[in-house]
């Protein structure tokens, strides 16, 4: 019977400590920033956020999901601030009263990648729409994210402008993140629309080449939006505004401009003209 008491007390102690340990996990103020996987993967936030966290003595929790989901999280009041790249959805988000104080922060660009031998012969074309048309006409493999992310929406937009409804075996909707989509495109020797940051991270691992870049249509603008405190009183609006002020400040914009991967500039600040 003595042994039973011992076992019981050990179990109680175990339970108590697990509770204490876990409650101890959330002490300082946490600001929740929903952003896209591509932003997080670029590594920019690891440089941009620490000075801010230090200055205001708070912690930014970065939740990296697709743009569609990031906006959904904002609509549900589950995050405090968004850093996303889908202008149309962003405007709708603000117009419907979910967000306030939308500011444009920076842009990078999308590029169209394809196999080295470029069977659709699109290399050097300056017009993304024309390139898409050529690919679709000859039904070369094209890998699409298909996950309602910012990149996916951009791609769908280009198809729309090209007046093509992509369908058939050649058009593969993979429903995955950019990285996985790049791998699938690489394995299938398919064309693919990709953000520059992810491509830079992947360029050593894939054989796809940049075929089209520089079309203004391919610009990828990022905005930061605070979740509306009138709708969700719990959101940390003040801290969200501090973050918005920081990334659009002279210092913040300078950090963005100077961020490079393997010598290449990734993002172009636009908050201060």
């Amino acid at each position: 019977m003595k042994k039973n008491i011992l076992i019981t007390s050990v179990i109680c102690l175990l339970l108590l400590t697990t509770f204490l340990i876990n409650f101890g996990l959330t002490e300082s103020i946490h600001l929740k920033l929903a952003t896209t996987t591509s932003t997080e993967n670029s590594g920019l936030l690891n440089i941009l956020l620490p000075p801010f966290q230090e200055k205001y003595n708070l912690k930014v929790d970065v939740i990296a999901v697709g743009t569609g989901k990031a906006i959904a999280l904002g609509k549900n009041g589950d995050v405090d601030v968004l850093l996303v790249h889908d202008p149309e959805a962003e405007k709708e988000f603000v117009e419907n009263g979910f967000g306030v104080n939308r500011r444009e922060v920076m842009y990078n660009d999308f590029i169209i990648l394809g196999p080295v031998n470029d069977p659709a012969k699109i290399k050097g074309i300056k017009d993304a729409i024309l390139a898409f048309k050529k690919i679709a006409e000859q039904k070369y493999f094209f890998a699409s994210r298909g996950d309602a992310s910012g990149t996916d929406k951009k791609e769908k937009n280009i198809w729309k402008l090209a007046q093509i409804n992509p369908e058939g075996d050649w058009y593969m909707e993979v429903g995955q993140g950019m990285g996985t989509t790049l791998q699938i495109a690489d394995e299938k020797q398919a064309y693919v629309l990709c953000d520059r940051g992810t491509f830079l991270a992947y360029q050593d691992k894939i054989e796809l080449r940049v075929l089209i870049e520089g079309d203004p249509l391919l610009f990828n603008p990022y905005s930061i939006i605070a979740v509306n405190p009138a709708l969700y009183p719990q959101v940390k609006y003040e801290e969200a505004m501090q973050l918005i002020a920081w990334v659009t400040s002279i210092t913040g914009q300078k950090i963005i401009r100077e961020y490079k991967i393997e010598g290449e500039i990734l993002f172009h600040p636009v908050a201060i003209e």
């Binding site: 697990t18 996990l25 009041g77 993140g177 719990q234």
Partner: protein, 230 residues
């Protein structure tokens, strides 16, 4: 093949360099999954036990439901809990989303049916025999019930270990509910998913190997207790 070799190499490097970030990720994984497993055990073992020993209307249905829940996809659990603890959900005011507690709740829900089902089958096999033996020796009903659990202890322990194995390896619920926040809710599986999406396959694989190593250590530890206990 290259990834595997790189992964093995990197995992050794990471373990022996005692990288702070890796260390805190592993620790958080253990913390979350162990807490979830322990809490699920506290509810699941008595429930499995009761289902096994009590005769009641709808018993077969309960068992069928529990067995069905074994096949619950982790992402679905993540979404269900999300809808509960989101700001818009009924428990939104608690502010649990994107905290370790959210992951604990998700993993608790995942571990619970496993622990109930395995405890049930462990107890059901021996219940009558053990209970009668204890009663003939003069035990009270309560003592007899405890004896049944004690006799089923190895099988119940196996149930707990299986539950732990499922939750430490799951990624769906942890991703949705925790948000994979660096230094806050990033656990081994979500880190693996992240590194994979970044194309860092070697690093992802290294984390995978560390996860296996951690699970292996927990199993060895429990095995040791099994051997030690009378």
């Amino acid at each position: 093949m290259d990834f595997i070799i790189e992964g093995i190499f990197r995992s050794w490097q990471l373990i022996f360099s005692l990288d702070r970030e890796i260390f805190s990720i592993v620790l958080l994984s253990l913390r979350v999954s162990l807490t979830a497993t322990i809490l699920a055990s506290f509810l699941g073992i008595p429930l499995g036990f009761l289902i096994a020993v009590r005769e009641y209307w709808g018993k077969r249905l309960t068992i069928a439901i529990v067995n069905t829940l074994l096949a619950l996809p982790t992402v679905v659990v993540g979404l269900l809990i999300y809808s509960l603890i989101s700001r818009r959900g009924p428990l939104g005011v608690l502010g649990l989303l994107f905290t370790p507690w959210a992951m604990i709740i998700g993993q608790f829900v995942l571990a619970l049916p496993i622990i109930i089902a395995l405890t049930y089958s462990a107890v059901q096999g021996i219940d009558k025999k053990v209970r009668n033996t204890a009663l003939t020796l003069g035990a009270t009903d309560y003592q007899a019930a405890l004896t049944v659990i004690r006799e089923a202890r190895y099988a119940v322990l196996a149930a707990v270990v299986t539950g732990f194995g499922r939750v430490i390896a799951e990624v769906g619920a942890a991703m949705i509910l925790g948000g994979n926040i660096k230094d806050s809710t990033r656990v081994m599986t979500t880190a693996i998913a992240l590194e994979t999406s970044k194309g860092e396959f070697g690093f992802a694989l290294a984390l995978g190997l560390i996860l296996l190593l951690v699970a292996f250590s927990v199993n060895i530890l429990l095995h040791y207790f099994q051997g030690k206990k009378v």
